[in-house]
Symmetry: C2
Subunit: 225 residues, 2 copies
């Protein structure tokens, strides 16, 4: 499976790339700047001691991938989706990790913006070609935790209107050591999952930590399907 990370030189994108490359996946780091993308990919290969990542401009990265992961800030999301749209094709999965933080327009990172469609993920769904399955996930999994050298202590809530795509993304999430992935239902539910990130950021600021989320009280198979 080849995974393109759009915005893959940023902290969240490179953190996901690191974890999936360590798990044996093939990664294409995407960036506005192909040279930076290559440099990030080379560093990643060096770090894990295996040639599992390459780097290129975002649009080219998407063309060669089965799964495209969008990890740019909210204020760049719509523009980036329009930019990569010609490279997207039916059958691909687009994982949207975007959180509409007010920080993106000069506000606080503990506040969020209202998105007309309900959530950043639903905005993404409007902007991809027909046949591309949009899955919202990884909002609550901090870059700092991904880039640490130990398992994370976090659950990932996955929302999608495409059940098969959601299942594939949950399987992908579970390749990150420590992650339990849960079916969060329809894509519209992403509006809440996205917002949880602002609460976690507030807790991090207040308590100087790297907070994550665990969901308790569900049968074991909930975390496995």
């Amino acid at each position: 499976m080849t995974i393109a990370i759009v915005g893959g030189t940023g902290p969240e994108g490179s953190g996901l790339a690191l974890r999936w490359a360590q798990a044996g996946e093939t990664i294409i780091i995407g960036s506005r700047d192909a040279k930076r993308a290559s440099e990030t990919a080379n560093k990643l290969c060096e770090k894990i001691g295996a040639k599992r990542a390459t780097g290129t401009e975002n649009k080219f990265a998407c063309a060669d991938a089965e799964i495209v992961v969008l990890t740019v800030p909210f204020e760049a999301q719509a523009e980036m989706l329009k930019h990569i749209k010609p490279s997207l094709r039916p059958g691909q999965i687009l994982i949207d990790t975007t959180v509409p933080l007010a920080a993106g327009v000069g506000g606080k990172p503990t506040r969020t913006l209202g998105v007309w469609q309900g959530s950043a993920a639903q905005q993404a769904a409007e902007l991809v070609p027909e046949g591309v399955a949009v899955v919202a996930a990884f909002h609550n999994l901090a870059a700092d935790l991904l880039n640490q050298d130990r398992p994370v202590d976090c659950d990932v809530i996955v929302c999608s209107d495409d059940k098969q795509a959601g299942k594939r993304v949950r399987e992908l999430a579970r390749k990150i050591p420590g992650v339990r992935a849960l079916d969060g239902g329809k894509l519209e539910n992403a509006r809440i999952v996205e917002q949880i990130t602002a609460v976690l950021i507030g807790l991090n600021i207040r308590h100087k930590g790297h907070s994550g989320l665990r969901i308790t009280g569900l049968p074991a198979e909930s975390y496995e399907n």
Copy 2:
């Protein structure tokens, strides 16, 4: 400390009453129907084998309490606050547990309503007399878990503009076995904490469980202050 539970005959209210009575607090069960309130209080006393609860009409319940806990459904919240307002006085703490679920107006329990003030808690803050500190908490702690005979596996995120009141409510939350309480910052943050409940309800429906929330990755003292 005397705690009045407005809507105390409902599942969430009676669950909180049970846990706090077991911890040695004095409880006044409030209800629209004083007789039902008394019956619920008597059952509670029988269950715990101690005379720590009485029951009366909501307005009378509030008059005698230092802490008032509002556990009515969202669609009854504003009306109830107007009803009890004459009994509220400066120095009291009002704990708002309200979640604006769309189910309240015939929609789904996995969807929420937009509240003009931003959250049910902020709506409450508009409706109490000056000097009453509003604290938002316990949204994510399911009645089913409170009414079980074992510790809960849940964190409680507490939001308030009154730091002292927030601290008191965190201390009160910790009297429920298993609860870790966290400072969720200002009351405005309740808008997200309230919404998390809809995600948990969705998980419960999908996976037939009683889900709760744990926050990971924070220093131990975050859960103690």
